[in-house]
């Protein structure tokens, strides 16, 4: 009788363990946590999208956002992607963004497009995902 009980208990344990293993398969999904640079670039994108609309409609731009200067210091998802090329293109971007906000007429569009082209050049060799989205910022 004891043997039968022991056997039953053993079977129940095995069956229970199998069920628990199946439940553990539903692991927690890990999502990307945006870096300081990612957050900054998302902001830069939205601001420039609004600027593009204003330039196309011959409206004055908003104030130049000093926040953009953080591009020189913000932490990247992959810190190794900040090299000399990144830093020099960041300078081109900042100079031409500032110029777009200070000029009038055709020079606004010229400087704006030059700043967006600096972004495109940089993203061609690192973090290529947003390229199609950034290209849409160019004003024909």
């Amino acid at each position: 009788m004891k043997i039968i009980y022991s056997f039953l208990i053993l079977l129940l344990f095995i069956s229970c363990e199998k069920e628990m293993k199946k439940t553990k398969d539903n692991e927690k999904l890990i999502m990307y946590q945006p870096s300081e640079m990612t957050e900054l670039m998302r902001g830069i994108y939205e601001y420039n999208k609004a600027s593009k609309h204003k330039i196309e409609n011959n409206q004055d731009l908003f104030e130049y956002p000093e926040e953009f200067q953080k591009i020189s210091t913000a932490k990247l998802t992959d810190p190794s992607e900040r090299d000399n090329e990144f830093d020099s293109l960041a300078v081109v971007f900042l100079e031409n963004q500032k110029a777009a906000y200070s000029f009038k007429g055709d020079l606004v569009k010229y400087s704006y497009n030059k700043s967006i082209n600096a972004c495109i050049s940089c993203h061609k060799t690192r973090c290529t995902g947003p390229l199609p989205k950034i290209k849409k910022l160019l004003i024909p």
């Binding site: 009788m1 009980y5 039953l8 208990i9 129940l12 344990f13 069956s15 229970c16 069920e19 628990m20 199946k22 439940t23 398969d25 539903n26 692991e27 999904l29 890990i30 999502m31 990307y32 998802t77 992959d78 061609k124 060799t125 690192r126 973090c127 290529t128 995902g129 947003p130 199609p132 989205k133």
Partner: protein, 165 residues
Amino acid sequence: MKNIIIAISLLLLVIACKEAKEETQKAQIADVSYISFGEKITSDNSISKEEMYKKFSKLKKGDTIDVKFASSINEVCKEKGCWMKLDLGDKKESMVKFTDYGFFMPLNSDHKEVIVEGRAFVSEISVDELRHFAKDAGKSKEEIEKITAPEFSYAFEADGVLMVE
């Protein structure tokens, strides 16, 4: 007395097992439900990965088709989840990116079943991009440097993704 203790132990085990089974059943129900990423899409009328491969095979450079297909993830970008490679059978796969870089997939979603809806086309991937993807996938420096020629790929731009829970 011993028999009573054994009987109570058995009863407790049966209850514990029943609870575990209930949890598993909940998980099994969740198996047929989906987690949605990007634009909301439905699971109906999707074609299989084999049918998708046939469609890709007929595409020429410059062609684009709107389509929804079901497959499993061979590999996902380990840095951000900003691209994934979907199985097309016959050792072929499709490189999926997300419309306007608008959403990312979980970093640990390798081998998950998914349905994607968007646009399929054939594209050339530059050496720079191939090296970037290799880096994202955690490949070694030596493996990355071996990439010297562009590749043609079965590309897909997804507006929305449903992933089996």
